[in-house]
Amino acid sequence: MEYLWLKALHVAAALTWVGGEFAVALALAGLPTPRGEAESRRLRALRLWDRTVTTPAMLLLWGFGITLGMKGDWFHSPWLMAKLTIALALGALHGALSGTLRRAAVDPLRSVGSWPRHAAPAIVIGVTAIAILVVVKPF
């Protein structure tokens, strides 16, 4: 019963985190330079959401995930190692997006570059791979 609760909270944290990561990725994709006050205000609001909701959800996700892995003795399973690798890559991507958002929100003259355009498709691919690994457990 405790395991199922942990699993449910892990999934809830994952959905919240991925939703927030998508929001940052889409906001930064094709962001104009220089930006007007309205655009900067929208970025600051998104940054507040990222700091207060998305990032804490990621930390909870890690905590629940490690606890689930230990309780279920899953850490020897190859599928989990593959899943962890992808999850860490998505986490690194979120860190890069979040840092870029921080600077973009306060400096309307700073270009964010073109790489955030590729972030949302990368998240879709990562999340799909994770869903397959967790549900199907192919190896």
């Binding site: 006050e37 490690i66 860190g95 840092g99 921080r102 600077r103 306060v106």
Partner: protein, 113 residues
């Protein structure tokens, strides 16, 4: 148009302050793992000490690496600085040395404001 950086809340200074706390946390859990939990397992026969301390340090290490990525993505860090901050996370007591360095970097930004 608002001014950059806003005088009262330069986000880079806030970011470096958070980074210092996380560096201390990561450094402390690494020291606890290497110098307390590991001896407890090998000399005291308590393998759970490494299991639990390893998990806690794992979380702290992940948080540190994530914060480092977030910090360098928004700031203007050089490659030697990034390398230095990365190495600090895997060397015992490196987190404490790193915290002092981050403090100086933060002070430099505060003066520049």
């Amino acid at each position: 148009m608002f001014r950059y950086p806003p005088a009262a809340v330069n986000p880079e200074i806030v970011q470096l302050r958070h980074m210092r706390w996380v560096s201390l946390l990561e450094g402390t859990t690494l020291v606890a793992l290497v110098f307390v939990a590991v001896p407890l397992e090998h000399l005291g026969g308590y393998p759970l000490a490494v299991t639990w301390m390893g998990s806690i340090h794992g979380m702290a290490f992940l948080l540190y690496v994530w914060m480092l990525i977030q910090t360098i993505s928004g700031g203007d860090w050089t490659w030697p600085e990034i390398l230095r901050a990365g190495v600090a996370a895997i060397v015992p007591f490196g987190g404490f040395v790193n915290e002092r360095w981050l403090r100086r970097k933060q002070a430099g930004l505060s003066l520049a404001d």
